[in-house]
Symmetry: C2
Subunit: 308 residues, 2 copies
């Protein structure tokens, strides 16, 4: 896809300057309101046919997802939401009751917004001849003093994920997942996080992004990748691992932390789950450590057809 | 259209609470960063076929418009931009070079952003089977101490617009207009503004919105409506007036100010133009004062076919 290259070109072109401290290239942007106060801003556009199929799912769940993916971005910046801004492009065709569609979307948006004390503060409602599209922008405020970026991983750090991966699209978890704001709050309070992002395109795509941003490499321990129960147990183990690495839409957090904090993470409260999956090293790229101990390079752009 | 009713229902449903001071229903939202610092957030979605025709205009101008309409919303809050967040849905069809389209859009976005010292700080770039859509969110900071809303007009206030109206779509002014941030800065410094909004749907639609929000009525002096040179001079005067009131996409500011400030506005610097167009009174609705002195009610939903 063009997206990676294009985003990198934007990142080079639009370097941040005050009051923007962190700009394009991370899960969110960081703005300085004044010397002691930072604001985090995230935005995500969801499109019918790409991120969901409106004909097949409840608009309530679509509204929910549109805000959930943004809450996940805030969690990845260790920030909590303050306000939400909703733009809708509603399809003006004969089969769609626009008023009902908008009501249902807002029901899903509001339920999750209320859960995280986020005020729906503005928006733009349109109808058109195209398919349904929704854009959500959230403002947020830091949960603690640290705002870890993708670029902060250091050699020697350990890598963790906040939950099992794979099968999200198959079982519609992508519509119902809980953004990891509880884990974010606990991390903000308890652990110095070197680097943090959420997993939206799959670990095999997102981990290399973190390593590239951090100018580090990673070793991913294939025996430790937590595989979600949404991945069919009947599949061969190899395929289940591929699903965990490549399916995407997991919206778990991926974090790099100093090795000495591992014991803190492993003794986190019971409702939080930090799974150790590997380590950060000097160099570039991501290597997979197979069950037999062999190290295999993860090719840029995915690992399918390359592992065996 | 459903939009008016639906927006009013959203406004009732999502009443602002801290840190949101002003929510749905105005040109932008106002958030309190701390007791002394406010942030303004505006968002607008522009759609191919509704707000422009991508096949007929340069993507550079489309990118420009997408940020310009948001800058106009900030001007209507007497705020200046700080950061911009851009979401794109690019059409994945055979005739579109996505990379080139994105480059041209960003060129238009950047030119206007740079002009107003606004940092492009984040975004979300997607492609899909649908037509082109773009959403822009801007954060802003107040130009002065006042953030006038639509709802602040008072009986006795005078009404002004910052420029002539009508013909914007005919002559593509809607793609090239200059957001009134210079007028906004001058107003912030020099005049206590009771109520302020930008004219996007036409004076005959937007003035009643301001009066409804302010629980006031207005008398609009039809001999004083400034008609833009984009409205063909060959048309009968009646039609030219209708164009000025109804065409929309003017992106001039509409303001209500205390009567005693009129002399200040009329002696503003030469590059600013404040046209007096009427007055605010107690009651509801908008009345048109015709050339012969007769007062005619402006029906809700427009005045065409009702004036004569």
């Amino acid at each position: 896809m063009m997206e990676n290259d294009f985003l990198q070109s934007l990142e080079r072109r639009f370097t941040p300057r005050p009051p923007v401290l962190t700009g394009i290239g991370d899960d969110g942007a960081v703005l300085e309101a004044d010397s002691s106060r930072k604001i985090v801003v995230v935005t995500d556009m969801l499109l019918d046919g790409t991120h969901f199929r409106l004909a097949e799912v409840s608009p309530v769940l679509v509204g929910r997802k549109a805000i959930a993916v943004n809450l996940s971005d805030l969690a990845a910046m260790l920030a909590k939401p303050t306000a939400a801004f909703i733009s809708l492009a509603l399809p003006r065709d004969n089969s769609t009751n626009l008023q009902l569609l908008a009501e249902q979307l807002y029901q899903g948006l509001q339920e999750l917004a209320d859960q995280y004390d986020c005020v729906i503060a503005g928006g733009d409602t349109n109808s058109w001849e195209g398919p349904f599209a929704i854009n959500v922008t959230l403002t947020g405020s830091p949960l603690g003093k640290q705002i870890p970026l993708r670029s902060g991983a250091l050699p020697g750090d350990l890598l963790f994920v906040t939950g099992p991966l794979g099968g999200s699209l198959l079982h519609q978890r992508h519509l119902t997942f809980q953004p990891r704001l509880d884990a974010a709050q606990w991390l903000a309070d308890n652990v110095p996080v070197s680097a943090l992002m959420d997993i939206s395109d799959g670990l095999a795509t997102d981990l290399p992004r973190m390593m590239l941003a951090s100018r580090t490499s990673a070793v991913l321990d294939m025996t430790r990748i937590p595989i979600h129960t949404d991945v069919p147990a009947s599949l061969p183990h190899e395929q289940r691992l591929q699903a965990a690495l490549n399916d995407g839409e997991d919206f778990e957090l991926l974090l790099a932390v100093p090795a000495e904090t591992a014991s803190v993470l492993l003794s986190a409260p019971n409702h939080l789950h930090f799974h150790p999956i590997g380590s950060v090293q000097a160099g570039t790229g991501v290597r997979l450590k197979l069950a037999n101990g062999e190290l295999v390079q993860l090719p840029p752009g995915g690992w399918q057809h390359h592992l065996q």
